[in-house]
Symmetry: C2
Subunit: 255 residues, 2 copies
């Protein structure tokens, strides 16, 4: 495969907090960030969900920032005792955790006397060298090197991600196309599909069976940065479906 | 804290496959497994979501199985080219990937002549020493040492998890209680809550702000294996709420 396109930057997400690990909540941020990264041409390679434990946060941040071009964290930047992400980022980078003068000043001006207390002051304290990520709210996120530290509350996380997005080093957008059939099993198309994958080494071709409303079928998704190749691969999959007596239907199977 | 209760076993989940990382789908298995593990007294300490890449699967499985008592994988055990979990588990354990005679025989008997093809035969091929996890379907999951290999399709994953559950080494069930208030901000209760956490070191007390339908509030969740302590801590949180002029409401805030 001859190509002059530079490789796409890579990313990971670290979801910090006990609420997903305890089963209390369903993560609501990964899908959003994953989708937006694809649009920006950044390949999400790994997600880790970890608890509010200092050593785990520090170790995970250091592993991820050494392995990927961008690291996004969600959660743990509020004012309570279980919000320890910011201090842990400072520890991971080996820098002091210090007053951020701009954020400190505006939070101090915002709250009535006495309410800019020690807990809230922690939200105006950041690793030395952090660059703030604005979000239209009083307490921002921040970037420290290639680690982008965002809130866990989805509405606020999204504002932070979108404030950050224009500054991210991206790559060619990742194009996706799909076809499905209600008349096929994976075991019948596997050999033909594998041969198609072998002919399109620059693409990532995935096979996803579904079982819903008593309908059993399979969706094939092709992804890559070359739209013409993605389209050609999907057309080959449609031919494969027909050769097996199954009707191809464009796009993903309805949820 | 004097206690004769042995520590709870730990676990991690590895979600294998590109579909969550690409933003195509929302993971639908973590919350189920996390909730059930809590009921079984097994503490879920980490989740990793990784792509269908051999080296990443092998490395992640080996890191996780050395770090936690139980490892659960979901995804990548179907018949298509992107289903490589089973071979990777064999590689991680350094064992051969071999015909599982019992599964092979019943799949061969199940399919019409010619349909138990090379792709389907892969589903009857497992790491040497694997113990199958039945699920009422033709192709089972398997356990290899402390690594439990399950399907990614949620309905099938759940059958496999429930077949496995009675054999898992668990611990004291983790009890959870909660209280919330629509009249409070985290920054106002943080100091008092931190003092409560300091008095209940065996519990995990989490603070979760919410912003919905124009209502801003906070939920406090206490978790631990001692129900009386969990209850006492939540009662102290209720007192804290009242001392701040906020009405405590039992349980989680409605979704």
């Amino acid at each position: 495969m001859v190509s002059s396109t530079p490789p796409n930057p890579t990313a990971s997400i670290i979801v910090i907090g006990n609420e997903v690990l305890s089963g209390r909540t369903q993560d609501a941020n990964i899908k959003y960030i994953a989708t937006r990264l694809g649009e920006l041409g950044i390949v999400l390679r790994e997600v880790r969900i970890i608890p509010d434990i200092i050593e785990m946060i520090v170790r995970t941040v250091n592993e991820m920032r050494a392995s990927y071009d961008h690291v996004f964290t969600t959660g743990g930047i509020g004012p309570t005792h279980d919000d320890i992400t910011s201090e842990c980022i400072a520890a991971a980078f080996g820098v002091a955790w210090v007053k951020q003068p701009q954020v400190w000043a505006r939070m101090e001006a915002h709250y009535p006397p006495g309410q800019f207390n020690a807990a809230r002051q922690r939200m105006a304290t950041m690793p030395a060298g952090a660059v703030i990520i604005e979000n239209g709210h009083i307490a921002p996120g921040f970037s420290m090197g290639n680690v982008h530290v965002m809130a866990g509350v989805p509405a606020i996380m999204r504002l932070m991600f979108e404030a950050l997005a224009p500054q991210l080093q991206g790559g060619a957008a990742i194009i996706s196309d799909a076809v499905h059939s209600n008349d096929l099993r994976e075991g019948d198309l596997a050999a033909g599909l594998s041969a198609i994958q072998d002919r399109y080494t620059a693409l990532d071709i995935g096979s996803y069976p579904y079982f819903r409303n008593n309908v059993v079928g399979v969706t094939i998704v092709a992804k890559g940065i070359d739209a013409a190749q993605v389209r050609a691969a999907i057309e080959e999959v449609q031919e494969l479906f027909r050769s097996l007596g199954a009707e191809p239907i464009a796009g993903e199977a309805a949820g």
